[in-house]
């Protein structure tokens, strides 16, 4: 299970690099206003919020997995 989350993390990193770098970003690199704010401004903060949210979700899942693993191996490894 932990392996699955690691794979998700790799996917999230790729997504982050993808969202915050030129090819995708340049699509929004216009001076037009959307909802009263510049398009790129809106895009960057929206993407940023999304990434933080996904990271929070995965980190929580990972922590829970870690706890369950740790509880299972407790006793066999004193330094756990």
């Amino acid at each position: 299970m932990a392996k699955k989350i690691t794979e998700r993390y790799v996917a999230l990193i790729i997504l982050t690099v993808f969202l915050f770098n030129p090819p995708i970003m340049s699509i929004f690199n216009l001076t037009e206003l959307i909802l009263g704010v510049p398009m790129l401004f809106l895009y960057l903060f929206a993407a940023w919020t999304l990434i933080i949210g996904l990271n929070a979700y995965l980190a929580k899942r990972l922590l829970m997995e870690q706890f369950s693993v740790r509880e299972r191996v407790a006793g066999s490894d004193a330094d756990g």
């Binding site: 690691t6 993390y9 999230l12 990193i13 982050t16 690099v17 915050f20 770098n21 030129p22 970003m25 340049s26 690199n29 216009l30 001076t31 037009e32 206003l33 909802l35 009263g36 704010v37 510049p38 398009m39 790129l40 401004f41 960057l44 903060f45 940023w48 919020t49 990434i51 933080i52 949210g53 990271n55 929070a56 980190a59 929580k60 990972l62 922590l63 299972r72 191996v73 066999s76 490894d77 004193a78 330094d79 756990g80």
Partner: protein
């Protein structure tokens, strides 16, 4: 209200508050109720990343180049998204090895090398001092601007107020005092400074509040929200340009800055210190990985609005955009907010300066001064008493040295450069550590020579392409150095090295320094051999999962040491309390009496080395322990063998554990299967006893009537006929019963032969009705039939479907005892199924037994009527059949009588045709 003395008083009151918080934090920690042991304080303390550069400089950058400032915060976000692969591993390695600083980390990885520790320290001091100066500069600028209130005048070299220079100096010294008081209070092997961390977290809150307050004021106070502000800006073409990434700052710079800030969040000494060294629990990191980026997001939302607000407010261009955070509230006479903004900037500056000073002083002391002093045999340092004081004094001295150096840099060179340029200069210096760190934790083959060459040459390129030109810009070197290159050699121009043009200075420097750094790191590593201790450290770092918490590492010493020698040594650096505790723990583990131990074994020597490393760094610890241990370092082959054995044992135990888990799962499955079998066995017993009872009833009557006929031959004809008819009907009942039992058994065993085909449900129901019609006529039961013409086909076994309808009809006929008996049969389309109803107006099914009647031999009403009316198998068989067809059968609650219903799914072809 904003008079000079009031502003300066407020500054000092604020700094006094920081002292109070740090004092409280330390007090709580001493009492064992630390306040920093939670992920929120930890996340806030990491926000020391946001310095006065963020606070003032981001706005300046945004006013010049638009949104590109945001890369400085996207980089850390990216690094914190990748935390599981980098930060987490570095943290675990550092905890396992008692790492005290980034220099200690790198030195420790490359064989606890003093040379590498020293080089890293040198790079850090040279690279970070300008950054600390930057904080002082921001502080003095903001103070000067604020003191001119209500006028808005930009400070120049000529108008520099003496009171400002003095205040900046006093604040620098106050920061040094703070760092000394709370950063070098005692020598703690875990290198935790709770008070400092608490104060830093507090400062992070203040600077966020201050910046957001100014942002809200500009956006919603001076303008009517984002829409209004941006709309006004959009009217001016030069402001509209800022909405996108402007042509002057292209995508190369975007990528460079992102990479640079990714490296910075990992490699800046203060970030390493606060994220890794001060970490109070590894689990905190998993919360900080989203809370810290969230903090960065919040503090950045208003950067662009403030920049645009400033440019709209001061169109003449006589106000430096770096001061907008301050001058915007001032220009609208908002004194309280201006003061808050100033305090926010002060928070950002002091937080950074304090942590940097502590981190750098630890490095200077542990990696440079202590190893050097310990090697000077004539000092006889080994024979001195308590050395804790010496170590602490060296650190205090280092802190003062760093602050003075920064102040000096600020006074002599600081005025010529904008905030952003100096900050990026430091980022590029810190980035030099990245290859050695990342390579060091993933690549076992990296050697200390490789790391030394990479770091050293990368640093040299950095000096040449960034630091020296900055001296030239400040007038310390001739301007021609930049314009024409040294000795007028154009290929050596520092900003266009080897003729590389078209990049900004930072991208240019980062490119060349990384080419050299990574290139030599790899090339030299491949062509050199690791020493024994390097190989060991490489294994411990790269395979931290395998070796942490094992004894393999501590067996790196052969031979033993006298308890007295080792105890003295530890006493001197970590204090007697901790020493005795460690000795007692060791004795307890070994099962020995402390008083009986004369010489400690290799294992404890390892423990002692780690304790010492926590206090004075791994390089110094090694030198010290070597001086008291009799015997040498174990030969490389032996150590590697020990490590391999250990890892094999661990591997083996992991496999064993896996096996035992598998076994447990298997035995669980077996237990479940056994329980199921027992349940089935019980059911079978029940079934058998019920069945024998059911079979015996007709048999008994057949036999008794047969006996009567046999014993009394003179029985009259009419009675004989009646008895025989009973025998026949009971035999029929018996046959039916046995047939049904056979059917049911076949169905349950799955060996029934089904002849599945597309069946016209209407035709099947009609045939069932024909079969039952004579019986119904006998009992004069009225039939209420509703069959639509266009019932879809269902996929079923026709004969079995008829059997179900017949079963239901015969039940209805049997139980229909009303004066005007009516049986109602309807069929209709319901969703994607055909719903068939067979209802009567008899006594109906009693409440609560609707499900039970579908079980074997469960007849309702037996108790009221002497003779059972059915076999008790009709409904169970019907259920088996319907379920085989993919439908459902149940008894619906009705007001009067029984109401049995079943559904049959359409055939696929019908659905497609429809």
């Amino acid at each position: 209200m904003l008079s000079g003395w009031f502003i300066i008083m407020t500054s000092f009151i604020y700094i006094g508050l920081l002292f109070a918080i740090a004092y409280y934090g330390d007090k709580r920690a001493d009492a064992g109720r630390g306040i920093i042991n939670n992920p929120y304080i930890y996340s806030l303390s990491i926000a020391v990343y946001a310095t006065s550069w963020t606070f003032y400089g981001s706005v300046g950058r945004a006013a010049a180049d638009g949104l590109i400032f945001i890369t400085i915060y996207l980089g850390p976000t990216l690094m914190f998204v990748a935390w599981w692969f980098l930060l987490q591993k570095i943290l675990r390695i550092s905890k396992a090895n008692g790492i005290t600083s980034i220099a200690d980390f790198i030195a420790s990885r490359y064989g606890k090398s003093t040379a590498i520790g020293g080089l890293v320290t040198l790079i850090a001091v040279v690279g970070i001092t300008p950054y600390i100066s930057l904080q002082l500069k921001a502080l003095s600028t903001s103070l000067t601007v604020l003191l001119e209130y209500p006028k808005i005048i930009m400070p120049t070299a000529e108008t520099g107020l003496p009171v400002v220079t003095i205040t900046a100096f006093i604040i620098a010294m106050a920061m040094a005092a703070f760092a000394i008081l709370f950063g070098t209070r005692h020598l703690d092997p875990s290198e935790h400074h709770e008070g400092v961390v608490a104060a830093i977290a507090f400062e992070s809150i203040i600077k966020l509040i201050a910046f957001v307050a100014v942002g809200l004021f500009v956006t919603f106070g001076m303008y009517k929200g984002f829409g209004d502000l941006f709309l006004k800006a959009a009217a001016k073409p030069e402001l509209q340009e800022l909405f996108a990434i402007s042509p002057s700052a292209d995508y190369t710079q975007w990528v460079t800055l992102t990479i640079l800030s990714m490296a910075a969040i990992l490699c800046l000494p203060r970030q390493f210190h606060i994220t890794i060294v001060e970490n109070a629990g590894t689990d905190h990191l998993s919360k900080a990985v989203w809370m810290f980026p969230l903090y960065l997001l919040l503090i950045n939302i208003f950067v662009l609005p403030i920049a645009i607000g400033g440019l709209l407010q001061f169109p003449a261009g006589n106000v430096d955009p770096d001061t907008f955070v301050l001058t915007l509230p001032m220009s609208t006479k908002n004194e309280g907010l201006a003061l808050l903004a100033y305090i926010g900037g002060l928070s950002a500056a002091t937080g950074m300066a304090v942590i940097s000073a502590i981190a750098l002083s630890t490095m200077i002391c542990n990696e440079v001064l202590m190893p050097t002093l310990l090697r000077m045999v004539w000092l006889r340092l080994n024979e001195r008493g308590d050395l804790t004081a010496l170590v602490l004094n060296l650190r205090r001295f280092s802190i003062v040295f760093i602050m003075l150096l920064s102040y000096g840099y600020f006074v002599f060179i600081g005025e010529s450069y904008t905030l952003v340029t100096i900050g990026l200069l430091s980022f590029a210096a810190a980035a030099q550590f990245a290859p050695a760190i990342i390579g060091g934790i993933f690549w076992k083959g990296a050697t200390s020579q490789g790391a030394f060459a990479g770091l050293g040459l990368g640093f040299a390129v950095w000096i040449y392409t960034l630091l020296l030109p900055s001296f030239a810009l400040s007038g310390w070197l001739p301007q021609s150095f930049i314009a024409e290159g040294p000795f007028e050699i154009a290929l050596l121009k520092p900003y266009e090295f080897l003729g590389l043009t078209g990049m900004d200075n930072i991208s240019h420097s980062l490119f060349w320094s990384m080419v050299v750094n990574i290139g030599f790191y790899i090339w030299v590593s491949i062509n050199t051999e690791q020493s024994a201790i390097e190989r060991i450290q490489a294994m411990i770092f790269v395979d931290v999962d395998k070796y942490s918490g094992t004894t393999g590492r501590s067996k790196m010493w052969q031979g033993s040491a006298a308890v007295g020698d080792l105890r003295d040594l530890l006493n001197r650096f970590v204090g007697s309390h901790r020493t005795e505790q460690a000795l007692r723990d060791h004795a307890r583990i070994k099962g020995l009496d402390l008083n009986d131990i004369m010489a400690v074994d290799a294992e404890f020597v390892g423990v002692a080395e780690r304790l010492l490393a926590g206090a004075i760094g791994s390089a110094s610890a090694r030198v010290l322990v070597a001086s008291v241990v009799k015997g040498d370092i174990v030969s490389p082959d032996e150590v590697l063998q020990i490590l391999d054995e250990t890892s094999e044992v661990i591997e083996y135990s992991h496999r064993l554990e896996q096996k035992s888990n598998e076994l447990e799962i298997a035995s669980n499955n077996l237990r479940k299967a056994n329980e199921q079998l027992q349940e089935l066995d019980r059911l079978k017993d029940d079934f058998l006893s019920t069945i024998s009872h059911e079979l015996r009833t007709p048999l008994t009557s057949i036999r008794s009537f047969g006996e009567i006929l046999f014993d009394t031959p003179k029985i009259d004809q009419a009675q004989r006929k009646q008895f025989l008819s009973v025998i026949i009907s009971e035999s029929e009942r018996l046959t039916r019963l046995i047939n049904q039992i056979l059917d049911l058994a076949k169905m349950e065993a799955g060996s029934m032969d089904w002849e599945m085909s597309e069946v016209d449900a209407r035709e099947a129901i009609e045939e069932a009705l024909v079969t039952m019609s004579s019986l119904m006529d006998d009992k004069s039961i009225a039939l209420d039939l509703k069959l639509p013409d266009n019932l879809p086909y269902v996929f079923a076994d026709r004969d079995r479907l008829i059997q179900v309808v017949v079963n239901l009809l015969s039940n209805a006929v049997k139980f229909c005892v009303d004066l005007e008996p009516v049986v109602k049969v309807t069929a209709e389309v319901d969703g994607d199924t055909v719903l068939v109803r067979v209802a009567d107006n008899g006594p109906g099914v009693p409440d609560g037994v609707e499900d039970i009647i579908f079980e074997k031999f469960q007849q309702v009403g037996n108790t009221f009527i002497n003779k059972p009316k059915g076999t008790g198998l009709g409904l169970p068989i019907s259920r088996q059949i319907i379920e085989h067809f993919g439908g459902k059968i149940w008894s619906e609650k009705a007001e009067q009588g029984a109401d049995f219903r079943f559904t049959l799914p359409f055939t696929l072809s019908f659905q497609i045709a429809e």
